[in-house]
């Protein structure tokens, strides 16, 4: 069986760029959503 490790010739930079490409919009979406989630608990926190 033809075996190989997890990393190799296709550069680590390409790997980082690929994960940044998908990570930034995903984190932005999570950030905006968490901002909205705060509204759910805001009334409970008020005196």
């Amino acid at each position: 069986m033809n075996q190989s490790g997890n990393t190799g010739g296709s550069s680590g930079l390409g790997l980082i760029l690929a994960w940044i490409w998908v990570g930034i919009p995903l984190l932005w979406g999570v950030w905006v959503t968490i901002g909205n989630v705060a509204k759910l608990f805001a009334p409970a926190a008020a005196p």
């Binding site: 069986m1 033809n2 075996q3 190989s4 490790g5 997890n6 990393t7 190799g8 010739g9 296709s10 680590g12 390409g14 790997l15 690929a18 994960w19 490409w21 998908v22 919009p25 995903l26 932005w28 979406g29 999570v30 905006v32 959503t33 968490i34 909205n36 989630v37 705060a38 509204k39 759910l40 608990f41 805001a42 009334p43 409970a44």
Partner: protein, 465 residues
């Protein structure tokens, strides 16, 4: 161009890093997951005519817009339903084609269809023609959804034979995350394009179609298939079946003849029916049970989306060590308990526990989607797992209709018979718990596939050639 998309031209060279494949899959799933956020367009689409006349009165209990000719929310609801229906049909019918042409061609086709769906829907809304919007987002976009959803699944399973749950969970997590990106993106663009006589929905749809098309193309460019016989370092493929994990392969035509396939179909259907029914009513439910404002209810829905997304990777990767059947046992047993507890938590006004219970329920809803490709791989092997997964997604289409109908009908029946709005969800929750008990039994009944359905030794290579 055509040769670049060929299966033969997408085979990885030596040293290719397999961790490039999950982001390629995420490029597709982050885009098509936007379907869960389509409701962000409902209100603007329902106010196209009154906005054009600069005369939108406040929404009434019955209608968002009272201007003659404006579309109703009930009519617009069909766009999402059509998209999910076409997702299931396209995945089921085109699954074998996706396996044959490989992931790059399939992702390219998905990008064209999903992007074109937005363009056609944008055109339909610009001329206020609902059938064109149905055709665009519902049918054309829905077919793109189906092809896009299954296109990276079997590729990921082939790259990660040692961690199939983690791999497919990563991609399908992106589908859950797509709504988190799609909703604020649409809001931003509509705000940018809006004017005194337009709410900007048509140019927003066109812009999103172009953005999603280009973003998905990056995934198609990155994705690679492993060379025949490739395996990760240190991985030894099992030569004998053990438990529910087979070392053989079943073709899609044979798989659908097995009782195991239909039991997994029922498992997915019941898990999704319970979850989607709650998702469709989550905003209204927390407003009626706890009296929170609409903005806070939107926060609740957002939180459920995060649990839905995180559950996909958490449960799917956990299933690699727990096993697929025990993972679904947890979904159904814990889910049934939590559904049964929800009315009590509502009556006790225990908001934090209520939110936590629903968060866990939604994590298992997402986990059910993300774990099922690895379950299929365990039962039927890798050769046509994408096509088998495609047929299985008809369970999603069926649940997409059954879940909301069930929860809406039961709620309305109770209100019509004198139940208070805040109490109208109790029976529904108990019925959902009952559905999960049935799901538990279906999952418990799953046994290894009979030997007669498997390909003969050596035939698997011919089937993938």
């Amino acid at each position: 161009m055509a040769s670049f998309l060929d299966r033969s031209h997408s085979i990885a060279g030596p040293g290719f890093n397999r961790w490039l494949v999950p982001p390629a899959a995420l490029c597709i799933h982050l885009c098509i997951g936007q379907v869960y956020a389509f409701s962000v367009f409902n209100k603007p689409l329902a106010q196209l005519l009154c906005t054009a006349a600069s005369a939108c009165p406040p929404a009434t209990a019955k209608a968002i817009s009272t201007t003659p000719g404006d579309w109703s929310i009930a009519d617009l609801g069909w766009i999402f339903s059509l998209a999910i229906l076409c997702l299931g049909l396209a995945a089921a019918i085109l699954g074998p084609w996706v396996e044959r042409v490989g992931p790059r061609m399939a992702m390219f086709a998905a990008a064209i269809l999903f992007g074109a769906g937005f363009l056609v829907a944008g055109f339909g809304s610009s001329i206020h023609n609902l059938p064109i919007v149905f055709l665009g987002y519902g049918v054309i976009g829905g077919c793109g959804l189906g092809i896009g959803y299954i296109s990276p699944v079997s590729t990921l399973i082939k790259w990660f034979p040692d961690r199939p749950g983690l791999a497919t969970g990563t991609a399908i997590m992106g589908f859950g995350g797509g709504a988190l990106v799609g909703a604020p993106l649409a809001v931003l663009l509509m705000k940018h394009f809006s004017s005194a006589t337009s709410n900007g929905v048509a140019p927003t749809m066109v812009t999103m179609g172009i953005i999603y098309f280009l973003y998905m193309l990056v995934g198609a460019a990155i994705v690679r298939l492993p060379a025949p016989g490739w395996a990760p370092a240190g991985y030894v493929a099992p030569t004998e079946s053990h438990g529910l994990i087979t070392s053989g392969n079943v073709l899609v035509g044979e798989a659908i003849k097995t009782p195991q396939f239909w039991l997994i179909w029922a498992v997915l259907f019941l898990n999704v029916t319970a979850g989607i029914g709650v998702l469709s009513q989550a905003s209204l439910m927390i407003q009626e049970m706890f009296g929170v404002a609409a903005a806070a209810a939107a926060g609740f829905v957002g939180l459920l989306s995060i649990f839905n997304m995180v559950g996909r990777i958490f449960w799917a990767s956990s299933s690699d060590s727990l096993g697929r059947r025990p993972t679904y046992m947890i979904f159904f047993a814990l889910g049934a308990v939590l559904y049964a507890l929800v009315p009590t938590l509502g009556h006790a006004h225990a908001l934090v526990l209520f939110v936590l219970a629903y968060g866990i329920i939604l994590s298992m809803y997402g986990g059910g989607f993300a774990t099922v490709p690895a379950y299929l791989r365990d039962m039927f092997g890798t050769v046509q797992v994408g096509a088998i997964h495609g047929v299985l997604l008809t369970a999603w289409s069926a649940a997409g209709v059954a879940g909301p109908v069930l929860i809406n009908y039961i709620r309305q029946y109770q209100i019509d018979h004198g139940a208070a709005k805040a109490d109208a969800y109790s029976v529904t929750m108990y019925i959902m718990a009952g559905l999960l008990v049935i799901g538990f039994i279906c999952n418990w009944m799953i046994t290894p596939v009979a030997q007669r359905y498997f390909l003969k030794p050596g035939a698997a290579e011919a089937a993938t050639a």
